[in-house]
């Protein structure tokens, strides 16, 4: 589904990604871990198509299509979703209005009928219940004044409404209380299916108890230095990243 090969990217003349390889197949969950500043969010933003991140070498493909040729909205239409590490506050744009515009834009791009207000509201209510988002948040402007945890839940709500094929969750577990963590995991698990895939960026092995990954990757200084099964997360928890690099980084 997703194929990232030898990806190099820079921000404001600073090289951040220095050759990332990552292959994600339908039905899989991949976890990406790595120390602060190693480039995890950069990878996520590059996938979503952020324009101020320059891809200097390598390739990104979604279902064989070159992502670099696609605008951010086209990537969303193709089924890509990024839950932001820092969701953006948008004063003046109502949360549910925004979600309806997004869902209908995606449906329209796919040649499906747009949902009318009633049908959308029904869907929204169901999804909000699934990820335990208070209805009051739906009426407020997007993320404005939301608590850290509410913002993260709102990202998951968007994911649940938009039903992407590939969801990249950038530290969606950070700042969540334990109940919220379980809800978010339940939201992800409810969406898990044969033809969907997830890339979960996290610092905490804890999340991976709830969303059990098929593969774990360690991103260090702009490169994936190790990949393994879910046991790798436990090893990291124990040894930390320094232990890991001393031990087994081969290149």
């Amino acid at each position: 589904m997703l194929r990232v090969s030898d990806l190099h990217a820079k921000v404001e003349e600073q090289k951040i990604l220095k050759g990332v390889d990552l292959e994600v197949n339908a039905g899989e969950v991949h976890a990406v871990m790595g120390p602060n500043g190693s480039g995890k969010s950069t990878l996520a933003q590059v996938l979503a198509g952020r324009e101020d991140y320059d891809v200097t070498a390598g390739s990104l493909e979604l279902d064989g299509d070159d992502l670099q040729e696609m605008a951010p909205e086209e990537r969303a239409h193709a089924g890509l979703f990024l839950a932001f590490q820092y969701p953006v506050e948008i004063p003046g744009v109502g949360n549910s209005y925004f979600l309806k515009a997004a869902l209908n834009a995606i449906r329209k791009a796919r040649g499906e009928d747009e949902l009318d207000a009633m049908d959308f509201l029904q869907l929204l209510r169901k999804r909000a219940e699934l990820v335990d988002v208070d209805e009051a948040l739906l009426r407020r402007p997007v993320n404005e004044g939301f608590s850290g945890g509410e913002k993260k839940r709102n990202e998951i709500l968007q994911m649940a409404v938009l039903e992407p094929r590939l969801a990249v969750l950038d530290e969606t577990d950070s700042g969540l209380d334990i109940d919220a963590l379980k809800t978010v995991a339940a939201g992800v698990n409810a969406l898990r299916s044969e033809d969907r895939a997830f890339v979960v960026i996290t610092h905490y092995q804890r999340l991976l108890n709830y969303i059990v990954p098929d593969h774990v990757h360690v991103l260090l200084d702009g490169r994936i230095v190790r990949s393994g099964g879910s046991e790798l997360a436990l090893e990291l928890e124990e040894k930390g990243y320094t232990g890991l690099t001393n031990g087994s980084s081969g290149d």
Binding site: P72, G92, A105, I106
Partner: protein
């Protein structure tokens, strides 16, 4: 022939000499106004109040009296709110056949003989406020275009709301511009402009409540070549509540230099929204005089401009009595090479203790070459007051744009959503639903017309 012929007042004095006449009682006031206009002349770049308003293109044009043009069926309809009583003026003259003034209040055309536009109350106020001499603080000077209007208005609307009357439905006053097709007569490179002088006087009786919507529009939005020079005066009696909306949707190359003046007695409340979408060279001077203890005025505005449009809002709010409050919120959306000026002066007199004045001007620039100027001016002579002001000039939030697009929303739509979000509070404060919808669709239309940005 003098070098300054381009700024000469002569063509306008000529219009005065050839005017159709007026009721006897107005003659002296007109004469006085035109003399004041002549003495002051047109403002120049050296005039502090007009420094940022370049009148060159207007003053190079040769003024002509507005043509008489009967409306074709339906030309006015799209600007009217069907449920509102209305007065329609075409090129500054009353069009009774498409007007339906309300019955419970006096709403008459000034030039209609015997209609009541010459009653004592009307004449007492007409021109007494906007004349640029009476009741303003010493440094206000003469407003030449207000004086010109007083000298030259052909017709206008006088609305008198009786004491205690509560008028539910807003009254709409439509100022429609329909210049004749430009004739070949204006030889050489001197363009001709048809000039009209709309005049509105609203007298709100004690404890009355009413709403007035003024609409300035062009029958053909592409047929510019006209100059509209309106004056609106609001006399707000003790305890009255007056709502006013001023929608300016003139042709994009029209000249629009307006003056509005509100005077408030004890505990009166005046709430005005000025929304500017049209006009090429636009200037609005707004004066709020808080003349009675406990009076309050809200003066809000929105300008959404593109191309080479220029909009200048000059505000002057004077707190003259204790416990008076004023709120100003002006927002601008500028694209293309559009330019705006917001000049907000708050003058707190020594007697006006416990004044609470707030002024905000926010501008959103959508292009590299758009330019917004914002100049707050506070002059405070009382010691126990609260005055705040703030102005911002910013661009669209790129992070927000990316966030919306990452959810599948097309760039254009995401862009429009963010601009709409910025401006919406000024559209949504309109409480009359058809008006609100009209403002909303005008805002959306002006956002979608811009092409790729």
């Amino acid at each position: 022939m003098t070098i300054a012929s381009g700024r000469s007042t002569a063509p306008y004095l000529d219009l005065y000499a050839r005017r159709g006449g007026e009721p006897e009682v107005l003659r002296a006031r007109r004469q006085e106004a035109i003399e004041r206009f002549e003495a002051a002349g047109f403002p120049t770049g050296r005039d502090e109040e007009w420094r940022q308003t370049n009148l060159g293109s207007l003053l190079r044009a040769a003024p002509a009296a507005a043509s008489r043009r009967p409306l074709q069926g339906g030309e006015a309809a799209r600007f009217l709110y069907p449920d509102c009583p209305r007065m329609v003026f075409v090129n500054g003259r009353y069009a009774p056949e498409i007007s339906s003034p309300p019955r419970q209040i006096t709403a008459v055309a000034l030039a209609e003989p015997g209609a009541g536009g010459d009653t004592e109350a009307v004449l007492e106020h007409l021109g007494a406020h906007a004349s640029g001499r009476a009741s303003c603080s010493a440094d206000a000077g003469v407003h030449p275009f207000a004086a010109l209007n007083t000298g030259l208005f052909e017709d206008g609307a006088a609305i008198v709301i009786p004491d205690g009357a509560v008028v539910e439905q807003p009254l709409q006053v439509l100022w429609l511009n329909a210049p004749a097709a430009p004739a070949a007569e204006s030889g050489g490179d001197t363009p001709a402009v048809e000039v009209s002088f709309p005049r509105l006087l609203v007298i709100a009786g004690e404890n009355s409540q009413a709403s007035v919507i003024e609409t300035f529009a062009a029958v053909d939005p592409k047929a510019g070549g006209y100059f509209v020079c309106p004056v609106s005066e609001f006399v707000c009696g003790a305890g009255s509540v007056l709502h006013h909306t001023r929608l300016q949707a003139d042709a994009t190359d029209a000249f629009h230099l307006g003056f509005q003046h509100a005077q408030l007695e004890r505990s009166a409340s005046f709430d005005s929204s000025s929304l500017a979408f049209g006009g090429g060279l636009v200037r609005n001077d707004t004066v709020g005089l808080l003349d009675g203890e406990g009076s309050h005025c809200t003066l809000d505005g929105l300008y959404v401009i593109d191309g080479s449009q220029f909009v200048d809002n000059h505000m002057r709010v004077e707190h003259r009595q204790p416990h008076t409050t004023s709120h100003q919120l002006y927002k601008g959306v500028l694209d293309g090479r559009a330019r705006s000026v917001f000049n907000g002066r708050i003058y707190v007199h020594q007697a006006a203790q416990k004044t609470d004045a707030k002024q905000t001007n926010r501008n959103l620039l959508l292009s590299k070459s758009a330019l917004a100027n914002s100049n707050p001016q506070l002059e405070i002579f009382a010691d126990d007051v609260r005055c705040t002001h703030g102005s911002t000039i910013g661009r669209l939030d790129e992070e927000a744009l990316f966030y919306l697009r990452s959810r599948g929303i097309e760039r254009e739509q995401a862009h429009a959503m963010l601009v709409y979000a910025f401006a919406r509070e000024l559209v949504e404060k309109a409480s009359h639903e058809p008006l609100r919808q009209d403002l909303e669709s005008r805002l959306l239309a002006s956002l979608n017309g811009g092409g790729p940005r």
